[in-house]
């Protein structure tokens, strides 16, 4: 069920129409007079933007039915959508105290559907599968594992995968630094097979001399590495050193 519009409260300002990231809100005009908005269920990704922007609180959430509950991952303000806290782990954010990625390892973080395109679970699964085949150890504390579990247990059918659309899903895993060429090759192959975009992030430890061990390896592979990054400053305690 998409969000419900209380037509008695709606003042027809149109902010929800403009703010919807997937153009799922339409206004129907009758005799030239603009009516209240309605939400196209097939397009809605349950991000909650329309609910928050409405100045008169005329829009409220109606809980979606499984498997469309996955759409709720589109709303970062909702905790524990899949029973797994957040939309993934703290990845690099707490690596100074968790040691999730150790020296010699690289974290692989694939943000599927962003920016501004959205994704289906089918495209998420395509990327998950190629990473697995390339020897990436997938993160269990991530919604991707719930999708795989639901598929294995038959709760989610393969046909459902292309029907469930959401803002994005983050795929996480890790591998040894020497395995990076296989990972990059897998991503190069799968980018031609998906009907969306995905952002690629590579995590590693920073050396004492501030060199970045995987940086040269990536350049040798002909990969463009952006001049910006997310840096864990190492202020967390107790600090994981290895």
């Amino acid at each position: 069920m998409p969000p419900i519009v209380d037509t008695d409260k709606c003042v027809g300002c149109g902010l929800c129409f403009h703010a919807c990231p997937v153009s799922a809100i339409v206004f129907n005009s009758e005799k030239g007079v603009r009516s209240s908005p309605s939400v196209i269920s097939e397009l809605c990704i349950e991000c909650g933007v329309c609910i928050r922007i409405c100045p008169v609180k005329a829009i409220s959430r109606a809980e979606p039915q499984y498997p469309h509950t996955y759409r709720l991952l589109s709303d970062p303000a909702l905790p524990k959508v899949t029973g797994i806290p957040g939309r993934g782990t703290d990845e690099v954010k707490t690596n100074d105290v968790t040691g999730r990625y150790r020296r010699g390892e690289v974290g692989i973080v694939i943000d599927v559907g962003r920016p501004n395109v959205t994704t289906t679970l089918a495209d998420v699964l395509k990327i998950v599968k190629v990473l697995e085949s390339a020897g990436v150890e997938l993160e269990k504390e991530n919604p991707q594992s719930r999708v795989l579990e639901d598929l294995t247990l038959g709760r989610l059918s393969p046909q459902d995968l292309s029907k469930v659309r959401l803002m994005s899903m983050v795929i996480e895993g890790k591998t040894k630094i020497e395995n990076l060429p296989k990972v990059i090759e897998a991503l190069r192959n799968v980018e031609r097979e998906v009907d969306t975009v995905f952002c690629v992030g590579i995590i590693c430890r920073i050396s004492e001399d501030l060199s970045i061990p995987c940086y040269e390896a990536l350049k040798e592979l002909g990969v463009r590495v952006m001049p910006f990054a997310k840096v864990n400053l190492g202020l967390g305690r107790p600090l994981v050193m290895d």
Binding site: K93, N116, L210
Partner: protein, 214 residues
């Protein structure tokens, strides 16, 4: 999540930061630690911040935001994650300097130009621990909005700022019904984390509104 990493455009003067408690590791006296961080935020003049990916400073009064943060810090510490954005290298340096001196033991992550962040680390005697490099956007790039719009929308990495809302704001500015500052504030309210750089958006909106609509 990687919601502050893959931003488009000129990344000078744009430093989203994240302070992330880890339950069972460094969450003792968490309300007191977060209170110290908020004092530092105020002292260095950070105008945009929020917590838990659910509310930013433009969505509630400061008092209400702090009250809710403290409640979350006591009930579910893992969700008491502070997020915000520094709008200059100097401001970021001061922020990190004070965080280092406060020695709170909470993990601090900063996104921005690698060279600038490493410069600050060297100046302050900090040894950065780990890095998340961006390899950019792959796949069907032809589905992306145009570059100027992306510079604004990707400041909310969760995708809550819609390209259509940016177009609407630009249209309002062109017709003199909205200032770039008001437009930037409206857009920033959609980013529940509080990492949307309002100052940068204001400048971008001013620039884009003068360009011919395509």
């Amino acid at each position: 999540m990687t919601h502050t990493l893959h931003r488009f455009g000129d990344r000078r003067n744009d430093f989203p930061w994240l302070i992330t408690p880890r339950e069972g590791v460094n969450t003792d006296n968490l309300p007191e630690k977060l209170d110290r961080v908020i004092q530092i935020i105020d002292r260095v003049g950070i105008r945009m911040w929020g917590f838990g990916a659910c509310k930013n400073i433009l969505m509630a009064s400061r008092e209400q935001l702090v009250k809710e943060l403290m409640e979350v810090a006591q009930k579910s510490p893992a969700r008491a994650r502070l997020r915000g954005v520094c709008t200059s290298k100097e401001q970021l340096k001061e922020f990190i300097r004070e965080l280092k001196e406060a020695n709170l033991g909470l993990s601090v992550t900063v996104s921005g130009l690698i060279e600038e962040i490493f410069d600050i680390c060297k100046e302050l005697g900090i040894k950065p621990h780990s890095i998340n490099l961006s390899l950019g956007v792959w796949g069907r790039r032809e589905l992306l909005p145009k570059e100027g719009i992306l510079e604004i929308t990707t400041m909310c990495g969760h995708g809550l700022v819609s390209p259509r809302l940016v177009e609407y704001v630009l249209n309002e500015i062109r017709h003199g019904r909205m200032t770039p500052k008001a437009g930037a504030t409206l857009l920033a309210r959609q980013c529940t984390c509080g990492v949307f750089n309002v100052e940068r958006a204001e400048k971008l909106l001013g620039k884009l509104s003068k360009e011919t609509k395509t």
